[in-house]
């Protein structure tokens, strides 16, 4: 080794030697190691004291109470600036005729008032409010290619409008039709459970607006919340449970025709 060192002339110093290469390798490896150390442990506590790890928001709909007034839809649009032609929540009217035919419609125009039904062949009819199910295993954020669709720790499925590229994959993936591409922002949009309200202790706009208390909202981590009590006492059904999305919108009094 010493012989080699002696032999190194001044001209050789500029040449690439193994030693130099190894040094460079070591430094680079060290730098990489620094880069890949995990970030600071995440905390859920916001500056205003809202701790999302202490809540788990859920939703229930008592279809036997709904009168189809669409106050929920109007409130949602006023609260969230939902553009014309798209809906974060809506109410479906099911009409089952005497011959067993199922007719479904929704009030999408004219101030969202349901038209009177024509014909007297209806054997059974009811309203079914629909909303994002905020699934525990939501399909929509699994397919998002840019990480714009996500679930918060408190169980709300949201869209990050800054990340969303508007590819519409999530819109297709959602089995409940809860998502749409916002014609103004050109990004995916959906029910947020009024995240800006519920994290301040308010009810979602649709729940507050419902004159019949057909929409029930609450914290499933709080055993005394209205929702928890209701889910303990009542029998409920989920929409498309066979898809394994684990929806968190619980339907009371839902008939078998409803999909």
């Amino acid at each position: 080794m010493t012989d080699r060192k002696k032999n190194e002339s001044a001209a050789d110093r500029s040449a690439i030697t193994r030693r130099k290469v190894l040094k460079a390798m070591g430094i680079t490896s060290g730098l990489l190691l620094v880069r890949c150390t995990p970030a600071a442990p995440p905390t859920g506590q916001a500056s205003d004291g809202y701790d999302w790890s202490k809540h788990y928001w859920g939703y229930a709909i008592d279809t036997e109470k709904c009168i189809g007034c669409n106050a929920c839809m109007r409130a949602c649009r006023a609260e969230n600036d939902v553009p014309e032609g798209v809906f974060r929540t809506w109410v479906e009217r099911y009409e089952i005729t005497k011959s067993g035919e199922v007719r479904v419609d929704a009030a999408t125009h004219d101030n969202f008032v349901f038209a009177e039904t024509k014909g007297d062949d209806v054997a059974q009819a009811f309203f079914v409010p629909k909303i994002c199910n905020h699934c525990e295993k939501s399909v929509c954020n699994q397919v998002c290619p840019v990480g714009a669709a996500y679930r918060t720790v408190d169980g709300v499925v949201l869209v990050d409008p800054e990340q969303c590229v508007g590819c519409g994959y999530c819109v297709q993936a959602c089995p409940y039709g809860s998502r749409f591409i916002n014609p103004k922002t050109h990004t995916a949009d959906k029910c947020t459970l009024c995240y800006h309200r519920i994290t301040k202790g308010l009810l979602p706009a649709c729940v507050q607006a419902c004159p019949r208390e057909a929409r029930i909202f609450g914290d499933m981590k709080d055993p005394k919340s209205k929702l928890s009590m209701l889910l303990r006492q009542k029998r409920f059904r989920l929409l498309k449970p066979e898809l394994g999305t684990h929806p968190k919108c619980y339907y009371l009094g839902l008939d078998r025709e409803v999909v």
């Binding site: 080794m1 009168i67 008032v113 949201l158 990050d160 706009a205 507050q208 004159p211």
Partner: protein, 400 residues
């Protein structure tokens, strides 16, 4: 022999380089994915370990050969330089690009931008709830809270109120007062629950003797106090509902229960309040349903709240004189002129319609009338249902 070994080592190193590149790519991609966070770190460490082992092996081998006095040509170690440079380059460029493309808080809580959840909370609520209205509109709210619209929030009819609260003088909320506004909820529809009050307005006008089709609902019904209840709907006593055979036929087994053809429909008022119903059938109001005056609000499967109305304004919904009344409609009076006319002094100033018209026009009340008649259709079963509390006021009685 030695050359062959060196070739093998070089080949091994090249393969290692390929594997490391692939792992490095995988690592770069997987970072931040909630479920793969541990995997990402593991892969990252594996990359570095493999790199260092590869370089170390080469170093050791070269050193051993030098010690053995061998003349080591530069070609024996120089090949590691481009391999290493390419690897590090790929990883550095990958990490660099990722740093540019991926926002700062991405991966903080999962495979999304952590700050997005905070940003989603920023917006100011626009619907403030009725407590915000109370500060200025307490009178309306107090009336509203006792009547049938108690569960309806102010903003459900008047629209979101935050702008109005912020600047009450400039921003005014809507006062929906047309028929169409009321019919949004009260238009008769097959899909609406049966107990929810709903009308075909033309039929309703006919019933109430209203000739002029342009008359709005608010001419008779105050939206804040639609039925002029004299008792808070939310505080009214619970009345049991008869839904199941055993609600009345207590202690009997299925075998002894028959299904007679003439069994009355379930939950009819005269089921229990037999006597009062029989008398009511003789009176002028006979065609009117009990629940027209004794509003029934179901609160659970087995119980509901019944509120009655003795506020004169409730009677005046049908009997109040107005320009738009038909002559063929119910008899009308001027109020309170009618009371002053019939009365004889100050003590009559508080009299209500029912104080004079009870016996002959509505139906008699009193303890005897309040108590349900011996119950059950055939009268063969002892009273189990509805034992109305004698101390309760007339609000509990049901008649037909």
């Amino acid at each position: 022999m030695k050359q062959a070994r060196n070739r093998r080592i070089r080949t091994l190193l090249a393969y290692l380089g390929g594997i490391v590149s692939a792992l490095g790519f995988g690592w770069t991609v997987s970072i931040g994915r909630e479920q793969n966070a541990a995997l990402g770190v593991a892969v990252g460490l594996a990359v570095l370990t493999v790199l260092l082992v590869a370089i170390g092996t080469n170093l050791l081998l070269t050193a051993r050969r030098l010690e053995a006095g061998e003349d080591v040509p530069a070609s024996d170690y120089r090949h590691t330089i481009p391999v290493f440079a390419v690897l590090v380059g790929v990883v550095l460029v990958g990490v660099g690009l990722r740093g540019l493309a991926v926002p700062e808080t991405f991966g903080q809580f999962g495979h999304f931008r952590g700050a997005a959840a905070t940003e989603a909370r920023v917006k100011t609520p626009r619907h403030l709830g009725k407590d915000a209205c109370k500060k200025c509109h307490e009178k309306e709210l107090t009336l509203h809270d006792k009547d049938m619209h108690a569960a309806v929030q102010c903003e459900t009819c008047h629209g979101a109120g935050s702008a109005h609260v912020a600047d009450p003088k400039k921003v005014h909320l809507v006062k929906p007062n047309t028929k169409q506004d009321c019919l949004v909820c009260h238009q008769a529809m097959a899909a609406r629950p049966g107990r929810f009050p709903q009308i075909q307005w033309r039929d309703h006008f006919k019933f109430a003797g209203v000739d002029d089709e342009k008359i709005e609902c608010v001419k008779c019904h105050s939206p804040h106090e639609p039925l002029f209840l004299d008792r808070d709907v939310r505080k009214a006593r619970l009345h049991p509902m008869i839904n199941r055979c055993r609600d009345c036929h207590v202690g009997r087994t299925d075998a002894t229960l028959k299904q007679p053809d003439d069994h009355p429909p379930l939950f009819q008022c005269n089921y229990c309040h037999k006597e009062i119903a029989a008398k009511f059938a003789q009176l002028p109001h006979a065609k009117i349903d009990c629940t027209t005056c004794h509003i029934f609000q179901q609160v659970s499967d087995t119980a509901g709240r019944i509120v009655r109305d003795a506020d004169p304004r409730f009677c005046l919904l049908c009997h109040g004189a107005a320009d738009f009344r038909s002559k063929n409609g119910p008899p009308t009076i001027e109020w309170p002129a009618h009371r002053d006319e019939m009365g004889s002094g100050e003590e009559d100033a508080t009299k209500r319609c029912v104080d004079c018209h009870q016996e002959n026009y509505i139906h008699p009340v009193g303890h005897a009338a309040l108590l349900p008649a011996a119950v059950a259709p055939a009268g063969e079963v002892t009273a189990t249902a509805p034992a109305a509390d004698p101390t309760a006021t007339a609000g509990q009685e049901e008649t037909k």
